[in-house]
């Protein structure tokens, strides 16, 4: 807000709240991937793998973040049973075998 002249100085809490509100209203829309921390956590509004990609340098590289988080939830600490390698006990090296699910899925070889 440095381009705005501070010709009015808020004195009480309400005036300060109004100023804060005005600042929030005047922020322009930003694309979700526009730099950190623009990456949404959890579910995304658009599922388009390869666009909102997993920002972490770990597997599954290239998946959308929501799917990457699901994958870890299922494969790592197994809080959600799903068709993914059990990385905790039976396939501890799954991330090395299969860093990119879309490309390397054939290497998975799990039951």
């Amino acid at each position: 807000m440095s381009d705005k002249k501070a010709v009015l100085k808020a004195l009480n809490e309400k005036a300060r709240a109004i100023e804060t509100l005005a600042e929030g209203e005047e922020e322009s829309a930003r694309a979700l991937q526009e730099g950190p921390p623009g990456m949404p956590a959890g579910c995304t509004t658009v599922f388009d793998t390869g666009w909102e990609t997993n920002p972490r340098p770990t597997y599954p590289v290239g998946n959308c973040q929501a799917s990457a988080r699901d994958f870890h939830g299922c494969a790592g600490d197994c809080w959600w049973p799903a068709q993914v390698p059990d990385g905790l006990t039976n396939h501890p090296d799954v991330d090395k075998q299969c860093p990119n699910v879309a490309r390397d899925w054939r290497k998975l070889q799990y039951d």
Binding site: K5, V7, L8, N12, E13, K14, A15, I18, A22, E26
Partner: protein, 462 residues
């Protein structure tokens, strides 16, 4: 897009030549620099104005007014906020004793009885009411039980029962309960003190100042003065307090010129805070003349000046009226009703009936339910709307509306319904008092006392 804008209702104050703008509906306060004051003066008469078509040199300032909600889209006038109904309870006033050992000349409760025969709140009803408060407090983590009368210390069994039950219920519900008690001080004993201190009861003692002022207002039923007995009780209360002890002063118009000495006398006795209320005109001889009203304002304004001087020395003058007003200005909360009556705040009489507030106990139109069936939200809403209706139009033209919202329900009922006085008898004083508060607030901001204002503001949050 060429949106048209109009000035939101506002008022410009000056303190030592410094302009301070008050947003009437938002209760917002802004200091203006010289350029802003000039632009405001130039554009104030121009309505509606199209921001995009204003000269580029004025536009940044006008934009700042728009961001401050002082320039608003034309025709976006906001409707008067409606009070909600069915809010959870946060404060319950118990009429512990509808009886009193004093016969104060200005008593609005007809000698403490609120009309009818003297009677005491049965301890079993006190327990039910205390439990009701905790049970119906919704998500409030803290509730307040006020032990009131008449003189509540005439009925110690009910006081003890209410406190015990509220504490038990609050403990079970994981809540905190605060107690406050208003007394004339004459029946305070060491045993009473020990109980009040143990349960951290905040005590307000009704004291009107030096002996001759106090005794003129507050005789015993036998006609002798009550000053000595009240002072003895106060000394006991101040012995080892674990909660603040405040003096609550009520003065009839004839004594309004004695405010400074009343205040000093009470502070000299060691009370932690002094609040001063003009007596309600329960009889026409308590209606003030213009000179008396001037004396009241002079008294309050003198204390406000002393408050400012004390802040300069790092002290806070404990004048409750001003502290409460500054707290409300600090938060800038726009009220939908003048007080919490019916909106989380109710009174229970000795028969377990709910009334809109403690001062309206015994007034049939303001009875809004009982402990058996609970408060009736539609009755509460009906009372509040009936009280608000006659002042809706005049208040909509008043700049102080969002901080005042029409004034005390009881006072309005008394003046307009009982005495048949025209609306607005106290408006002039209220506006001057609120304006004084805004000036004191702006002065404190200008002298860098924001931290103190933050602490004072905390009063209005509870």
């Amino acid at each position: 897009m060429s949106a048209t804008y109009a000035w939101a209702d506002h008022r410009l104050f000056r303190w030592d030549g410094e302009p301070v703008l008050y947003g009437v509906d938002d209760v917002s306060l802004f200091h203006l620099d010289r350029e802003a004051a000039e632009v405001l003066a130039r554009w104030r008469p121009a309505e509606p104005l199209v921001l995009d078509q204003t000269p580029p040199q004025d536009r940044p300032v006008l934009e700042a007014f728009r961001r401050a909600r002082l320039l608003v889209p034309a025709r976006a006038r906001r409707p008067r906020p409606r009070p909600p109904a069915g809010t959870p309870l946060s404060t319950l006033v118990l009429e512990v004793a509808q009886d009193c050992n004093l016969a104060c000349r200005y008593c609005y409760a007809d000698g403490g009885t609120y009309h009818g025969a003297p009677r005491l709140l049965p301890p079993a009803v006190a327990r039910r009411a205390a439990r009701y408060l905790v049970d119906r407090s919704g998500s409030h983590g803290e509730v307040t039980l006020v032990l009131f009368g008449g003189e509540p210390l005439l009925n110690l069994p009910a006081v003890r029962a209410a406190v015990d039950e509220a504490e038990t219920a609050a403990r079970a519900a994981g809540k905190r309960v605060r107690f406050s008690l208003t007394t004339n001080g004459t029946l305070v004993t060491e045993e009473v003190c020990e109980f009040l201190h143990r349960h951290r009861v905040s005590v307000s003692v009704s004291l009107d100042g030096p002996p001759e002022v106090h005794d003129a207002n507050r005789p015993t039923r036998g006609g002798s003065g009550s000053y000595r007995a009240a002072r003895r009780g106060l000394a006991l209360l101040l012995g080892s307090p674990r909660a603040p002890v405040a003096a609550r002063v009520t003065l009839p118009p004839a004594q309004w010129d004695r405010i400074p000495e009343v205040f000093d006398h009470l502070i000299g006795l060691g009370v932690h805070e002094v609040g001063i209320a003009p007596a309600s005109p329960v009889t026409r001889d308590l209606l003030p003349t213009a000179e008396q009203e001037e004396a009241l304002f002079a008294g309050f304004s003198g204390l406000a000046n002393r408050f400012l001087a004390a802040v300069g020395k790092g002290e806070v003058l404990p004048f409750s009226n001003l502290l409460d007003l500054l707290a409300r200005i600090h938060l800038g909360a726009s009220r939908s009703a003048p007080c919490g009556a019916g909106l989380g705040y109710l009174a229970v009489d000795t028969e377990g009936r709910f009334f809109l507030c403690h001062r309206l106990v015994g007034e049939e139109p303001f009875r809004v339910g009982d402990l058996d069936s609970g408060p009736r939200p539609e009755a509460i809403r009906g009372c509040l709307e009936a009280l608000a209706a006659p002042r809706e139009e005049p208040c909509s033209r008043c700049w102080a509306r969002a901080l005042c919202r029409g004034g005390c329900h009881y006072e309005n009922h008394l003046r307009e319904t009982v005495l048949g006085l025209p609306f607005g008898g106290t408006c002039g004083f209220v506006r001057r008092w609120i304006e004084l508060g805004i000036r004191v607030y702006a002065r404190l901001c200008a002298s860098g006392h924001e931290e103190l204002l933050g602490r004072i503001g905390a009063r209005a949050r509870c």
